[in-house]
């Protein structure tokens, strides 16, 4: 009911001429209609996740392919486009449709402008907190990585911004790729007394001791609230293990249940998890763990306007996912009565930068952090004629640009680019700046590789990554998208078993032979040996390629031929 009311308010705002705001006063007036949704209950928890170090407003196109397989088919979050609008009963308001889907992206991005940005988010957080005294702000992680400035300052810009934003607790994933020493340095230094890192599933590899507190107990308006942390379980697998050599991760279901039970016996009336599992893993975990009221999810970058309610032996758990790139702020209002959650309201508020004036203090902090790097970041490398984006199960136009650059610069036959889900969007006609390239590539292991691979090895890699995406059991998934492939064609049956999904591999019309060797270019190797192999950083290679081209035509996406997914609502018709 309440959600519907909220959506109606948004729809009304749309009718009254939300479109390009002519003045600051007008922007504020419109923002009032959207963002001053009434508070509810006595405990409020705000949630950001996966901002990937985007301090300034950006464009971000949601995916048009996000397939769910087996038990996940057709269920949130595996729904895109018109099916998404229908599933979540989003009224025919273009602004909301634009926030949550890829539909008519280019057209509406021009109308509604950029999203996110910490200065605008700060204004929204202040506004929401003003209506909700005592509210906590939770950060699901992937905060310190994803931009050039974050990379060059080892996440310091984001550490400072998170403190200024008023984050209370966070959990981890990409933060760990600066190395365990850096995470501990921030945890014990900058964050001391300000932001608490929680993670029930990070232990020392030797004794299995907790590295961080598994949960933190907070008093919110007289209610004891336990916030458990669940870091990304597969950090040492999806990212280089040598960066967290002394830590072990995993889902650790048994320890999660023990942690929940400990929090309850410690008097917690509300138990929530800030999770970097990814939504499918959260849904499965919610069905098997008792005593969790709500899971604030991230990792898979699914902007879910409505939570999924999961039944388990102990009751019900609210499972949310709050998108990425600073685009959304999640607001969960709980009514806690007689020691337990009696009712709730949830809103996922899109952060439209034009509707929220920049907070001056935060803006100053951002400008100061960027100042030493702006001349490098602002370099215009080329003009893009097409829309450049990344998100999608199999390929994105910005990835295609990277794949093309790899083949051209390394004189390779085939190229691979990782299926990362972060990376911002560029509108047609815009210049591609160095900052844009870094938004797609800024990692601590950016080395370009050129490898002689047998056809059989290429198949093995594609099968392996494909299983990480489409294994019917979510606990065996890693939450990334399919590796992007340049040069060669293939077919993919996501519904097939491991080892049988990839077929019809061809290069320039000729079948790829198992025992023949091919030149394959790639980047982001997780092996420690690659660190010392002297590979160029991927952003330098892409920048060189773009500078020479000057104008980039809309890339022609190399997509696999898909089998057995006709009619799947996770794919645009």
């Amino acid at each position: 009911m309440n959600r519907r009311e909220f959506l109606n308010v948004l729809a009304a705002a749309g009718v009254s001429g939300l479109a390009p705001t002519a003045s600051f006063a007008q922007a504020e007036k419109n923002a009032g209609k959207i963002y001053d949704a009434p508070a509810f209950g006595n405990v409020s928890l705000l949630h950001i996740t996966d901002c990937h170090a985007q301090l300034l407003p950006i464009y971000f196109r949601e995916p048009n392919v996000n397939l769910g397989i087996a038990g996940m088919a057709g269920k949130a979050p595996h729904i895109v486009g018109q099916n998404f609008l229908k599933h979540f009963e989003i009224p025919a308001d273009p602004m909301l449709a634009h926030a949550f889907t890829y539909l008519d992206f280019e057209r509406y991005a021009g109308v509604y402008g950029k999203v996110g940005g910490f200065a605008h988010l700060a204004t929204l957080v202040k506004r929401i907190k003003a209506q909700r005294p005592g509210a906590l702000l939770l950060d699901g992680g992937d905060t310190w990585q994803g931009s050039g400035v974050a990379l060059w300052t080892k996440g310091q810009d984001m550490v400072d911004a998170a403190k200024a934003l008023g984050v209370d607790l966070m959990t981890l994933h990409w933060e760990c790729t600066y190395g365990q020493e850096r995470v501990e340095e921030v945890s014990k230094g900058d964050f001391a007394g300000k932001i608490e890192i929680v993670a029930q599933n990070i232990k020392t590899a030797d004794f299995g001791d907790a590295v961080f507190k598994p949960y933190s107990m907070r008093n919110v308006n007289g209610v004891k609230v336990a916030i458990i942390g669940q870091a990304f379980p597969y950090t040492p697998i999806a990212n280089p293990r040598y960066m967290v050599a002394d830590w072990t991760f995993g889902i650790q279901e048994e320890n999660m249940q023990k942690t929940v039970d400990a929090a309850r016996s410690d008097g917690a009336q509300v138990v929530v998890v800030i999770s970097h599992n990814g939504m499918d893993v959260d849904l499965k975990m919610a069905s098997r763990i008792s005593g969790v009221d709500a899971i604030f999810g991230g990792h898979t970058h699914d902007g879910m306007p409505r939570p999924t309610i999961v039944a388990n032996p102990g009751g019900k758990t609210i499972v949310m996912n709050a998108g990425s790139n600073g685009k959304f702020l999640g607001v969960l209002d709980l009514d806690v009565k007689n020691g337990k959650v009696a009712d709730f309201r949830y809103k996922l508020l899109p952060v439209f930068a034009n509707l929220l004036p920049a907070d001056p203090t935060m803006q100053t902090l951002i400008d100061k952090a960027r100042a030493p790097f702006t001349s490098k970041l602002d370099e215009k490398l080329a003009i893009s004629e097409g829309l450049l984006y990344r998100r999608g199960n199999f390929n994105g136009s910005f990835d295609q640009l990277i794949l093309d650059a790899l083949i051209e610069e390394k004189n390779a036959e085939i190229s691979f680019s990782p299926g990362f889900r972060w990376g911002t969007t560029i509108l047609p006609g815009e210049a591609i700046t160095m900052e844009n390239v870094l938004d797609q590539t800024a990692i601590t292991y950016p080395y370009v590789t050129l490898t002689e691979m047998k056809g059989s090895q290429i198949k093995e890699i594609l099968e392996d990554v494909c299983d990480n995406l489409f294994n019917p059991d979510p606990y065996y998934q890693q939450g990334g998208d399919m590796v992007r492939v340049g040069g060669m064609s293939y077919s993919c049956d996501p519904t097939a078993a491991m080892g049988a999904r990839i077929d019809n591999m061809t290069l320039k019309g000729k079948a790829i032979e198992a025992n023949k060797t091919y030149k394959v270019a790639g980047w982001a190797p997780v092996a420690e040996a690659a660190k010392d192999a002297g590979g160029e950083a991927i952003w330098d290679l892409v920048a060189r390629n773009l500078r020479a081209k000057k104008t980039i035509k809309a890339p022609d996406l190399n997509l696999p031929k898909l089998k057995n997914v006709d009619g799947n609502p996770g794919m645009a018709a």
């Binding site: 995993g250 889902i251 990554v465």
Partner: protein, 155 residues
Amino acid sequence: MLNQTSRRQLLKNGGLLGLIAAFGSALAPRFAFAAWNKAAFEGKTLADTYKAMGAEGAKESGEVQILASDIAENGAVVPLQCVSKLPNTTQIAFLVEKNPNMLAASFDIGPDIVADVTTRIKMGQTSNVIALVKADGKFYTATKEIKVTLGGCGG
């Protein structure tokens, strides 16, 4: 964390090392008595290995629990734990279906030992891992798939 620091400190002081040494010598005679089942450790198929262990007809049991990661962080060192709640448990073994030799480890459980063992094994590829428990002369199992992946490409 406090307990971690103190445990490490204890180790540095040599206290725990002394403790381990003491345990080691106490346990050594038991290990010495256990015969090395050569045929079992050289078994190339599940049927051969079970036969060599006398475990044919082992049954799945809810009283046997196998604890391990769903995806191995490092195939070369995969931590495994097995807890048996069956009375009179005398043996706990780990078998990896797709390893060249399936039997990875076997522990004899004496009457004064809690039937809860942890070890680390090596896995070449994604496989079912079986915890095989002998209790009251009969064999019981619990199975879990552990995935060994190439890594990389995470969201």
